[in-house]
Subunit: 339 residues, 4 copies
């Protein structure tokens, strides 16, 4: 960490600073320049609260050299994290996972039909929303507890592990038999929720917030990991940009960038990223080619039942076709898909 001092900083203030730095178990190395005096903090500064320093009125700026996350940091954990579900499915490392299913659970028939179709096509995890974060209070908010029950029926029927989104700590009990708990983009910095999930024994699928940086995503992962739960799967799902043709903008660089910064698995959601089903296959291919550890894709069942077809969902046939292409591409990456 590099601290630059204001010209107004007195010798006494500098001495105070050096003393405080040493009290934190760090070493302070002082460099005096013509324009600025610089103090380099040498040692493990990852868990140091920089705001404490930047608040000192004789300090001009504080620049981190070391990342502020530790448990999620690849520097301190070189090997890829591989997360194993109860059915022994592995996520991370050389394993490529495909999670698929409808945006919302709508009925037993719907979720079971989709589950069978996506399993047949090669998906290894079933997704489905029971609690839906909606911008409008007047929009459908999901089936709630009943949605979770229907997902569990589909799990029983197909053997597919399930992933579903939690929106509030108070609902945690309902997720007892859910295999992976998803934290949505709008809750990426719901720190109370993250802390609680840090004490939970299930893998967490953590989606990147719409305007958050990779470092902020990793700090949110760190919240969960700091609580003891190190089974975090990161998900790039598109960020907000000025482009309006697509709903969001898939940050494809996030894949190789996160692979450098962290050992956690990184999957991609091309459905929410684009909001347009026609764009899902090229984005899914791109994500696979860029080295993602998997995909999470929206698939709906019944294009005829028009009012429920998401504009960003694939039909089962389109998903079948996409899975064929992804399978042809995988040998060029270093990943393998189960089943």
């Amino acid at each position: 960490m590099i601290v630059t001092l204001k010209k107004s900083c007195t010798e006494e203030q500098l001495k105070d600073l050096v003393h405080w730095v040493e009290s934190q178990g760090l070493e302070a190395q002082v460099t005096r320049g013509n324009f600025k005096t610089i103090v380099a903090l040498v040692g493990d500064t990852a868990s140091l609260d920089t705001t404490l320093l930047s608040r000192l009125d004789y300090i001009a700026s504080v620049t981190r050299i070391q990342e502020p996350y530790k448990k999620a940091n690849r520097k301190f954990h070189q090997e890829d994290t591989v997360i194993e579900l109860n059915n022994h499915l592995k996520i991370g490392g050389k394993n490529f996972v495909v999670m698929a299913g409808p945006c919302s659970v709508e009925s037993e028939e719907q979720i079971c039909t989709v589950a069978k179709r996506v399993k047949a096509a090669g998906a290894t995890v079933l997704r489905g929303g029971a609690f839906k974060p909606r911008t409008s209070p007047y929009a459908f908010q999901g089936m709630g507890a009943e949605g979770i029950s229907l997902l569990l029926k589909a799990k029983q029927l197909t053997g597919l592990p399930i992933v579903s989104e939690i929106m509030d700590i108070s609902k945690l009990d309902l997720f007892a038999d859910v295999d992976i708990i998803q934290v949505g983009a709008r809750n990426m910095q719901n720190f109370e929720l993250l802390k609680e999930l840090g004490h939970c024994d299930k893998p967490i699928l953590l989606k990147r917030g719409l305007s958050n940086t990779l470092q902020e995503l990793l700090m949110s992962a760190e919240y969960i990991m700091a609580g003891g739960n190190e089974r975090v799967i990161l998900c790039e799902r598109g960020i907000r940009t000025f482009e309006t043709y697509t709903r969001n903008t898939l940050d494809i660089s996030a894949i190789p960038a996160l692979k450098e910064l962290t050992h956690l698995p990184v999957i991609v959601d091309p459905s929410h990223a684009s909001g347009i089903s026609r764009l899902v296959p090229p984005l899914a291919m791109a994500a696979t080619a860029a080295g993602a550890d998997g995909l999470i894709v929206e698939v709906h069942n019944d294009p005829a039942k028009a009012l429920c077809d998401g504009p960003q969902s694939l039909t089962p046939d389109e998903f079948d076709s996409l899975m064929g292409k992804v399978r042809s591409l995988l040998p060029l990456t270093q990943k393998v898909m189960e089943g």
Copy 2:
């Protein structure tokens, strides 16, 4: 609401659409063009879920003409909302409110000292954080329940009503004697929290999210109001932009824009917006000149106790001086400040 159809839309699909629109109590007026056929939905479409429509695969686009919020909409509620606290302080309308206090409650002495100073300078509400949303799990997370108790002591001492941030529904009981409950920027779309606060009998200070639009802010207000609690105060506190000199960018246009769109009071937080105490006075003056209904300003007590001085907080003397300037400016706006 304007719906444009794809060329592929059949007569039967159009008939289905018109039928569905009518079943929602709306009228459908069809215009056939050379390139596109357009259906105008006439009636009260505010609470219609547009995604239901946009999901139909023969629909090219759905454009709202009417805003999707109703209770927060000035069109249906022309007069300014005026919120009255238990001590009869009024917020909104012609009243200018100043909320001031430290970022975090740190000790009884600190909060009481600051409370007395900001009251003397003219503040009419005391702010102080007990629960702090922090990007890093390793940073100070606030004093929690004890922080609330200390705020209540300062309230008793000075008579100032208090405002403090809630981060999770489970803590709601602790806010029984808090006068205004704040929802922070990162929780603006924590819909479960908003729903719960909709059933609460206290004014809610709702801060705009870092990358949210005014419409999204109003939709979040609508969540609270739809639950029955119509006492919502909106707060512009800076948005995320590419500028890095300031921590965020104060969207000054949000003030007159929100005054057009809604009847709810709009206050401004120049401290979080800039992150630099030197910039707080010019931004506070600008916000006042632009027609804000009030300010929420960070003031710390003891510049000598250096490690606690926020770089964005004013000293009590600086706050005094700012209040003098704001008072000179108010006669040019149409607002008055109590006391």
Copy 3:
């Protein structure tokens, strides 16, 4: 085009509007709603200046249904544009082009060495900057006219056609023997330059601006095409977002989105998009998998001559290796690479 009127609009104003619309060769269809009256403009509105309408004070909003570009619009030109260079190299359609070379031309030896290496690896166009847009007036601004001469020597030596960036109309004569003229991101809306290039008989490589939308990019292409030069190659080179780990954010969705909107070829610059050479191969693979018509990649020659190595440039060996991977991927796309 959909025009919504304000409540205050009088019958006479509406009549004036309808009259004006008809005078533009369009039809006006009026729909009266409870809240708003809507006028649909039916006919070819692509070249209509919407600001003329939005300036009328009785108009609430103007929404385009039809795109404002025509020559670049796939709706009016279904087949992919294929651009043929003097050496018969084809760009667009089923052809995959790879342009490679150094960021800046630095010396005859440098450009010739790199040219031979990238040709051997499979590149079919040589890139090299002679005029460099630099944020600082104190940074190296390129070799200018001499840089162009050196590029022409490398062209003579290898037979590779060359692409180089123009920064001002006054330098156009120097580009007489350059095969493709590049317009950089910062000049995407330098409309005087675009107009001039519209009268030129060379293909133009038009880079997307750092914060521009796809529609704005296509409007800039339209400027060139409206002048008569329809040989425009679009280039996605990363946009500005809040992410700071990468220099820019590659908008991978731009590839399939542009393929829907326009018939022009779309290539990708993974070097400027990321600013980090380690990220260039995964982004190049992603772009290829997403259906790009080609790549433009920075390759430098001499890693030992340290001060000239761009952090975003590949070494010739790294480029060789990337080309091998791209070649394995191409059969999965519908593209072929010459040579």
Copy 4:
């Protein structure tokens, strides 16, 4: 400037680096930490090209402590720059300037009528566009040379100095009698244009680009100043954000921030910033209250001639009323308005 080295950096590479730093007339101070070795560059690094350093492959990061602009930097030029026009009007320092006029010059009658009205209301400079940067090639591009002639007639008639936008170097001769040359937002990084204007003897009104940072704005000012022309007026005119209610977002913090960073005058354009005439007065008041050195406001003449009324332009009466309010506010700032 702080350079952090990669772990892989050898002693020899470090020695090379120190040698190179010293060859640039700077001192290199080396600090070895557990995780990183840091080299502080001490001396005048303002005109150092950091890319030269960041390109070295043993360097992890380069962080500027000193700003990369020098002539525009308040650190090296403490007093406010005051620019005096030929008619002795002063811009900067304690002087508050109001530039007003139509978006585009449309006819002699129009520009002369508006000129008289804005002069009567208190404006001291006349603005008017002759060359208009338009997103669409099909939109009105301005009257060009004839527009400049009409502006000169209005100048002769009223005595008001004039400001107008240049879009290309080749038109510079037409600006011989224009008092202030404006560089528009889209040309802020048209470096060839900036260089040329650096050799010109007229004040330059430099508008901030839609997505540019304050530092980039100051670097563009530096381009002009490095050429010898130090009479640069900066203009904040709104930046691109996710908000769509306003056309752009006025960055009000830019005013006090620029006042800290530079000695150049800073004016504000509330018309382009909002794109809505109703919002112009509150934004103009906010800008004045925040310490701006002036305003540039769009005023059109004839609201009845509807098709030419910009939605962001004030009528002369509205401008009159705004000027009255600005005059009441000025005594609270430290500025005075001539006339």
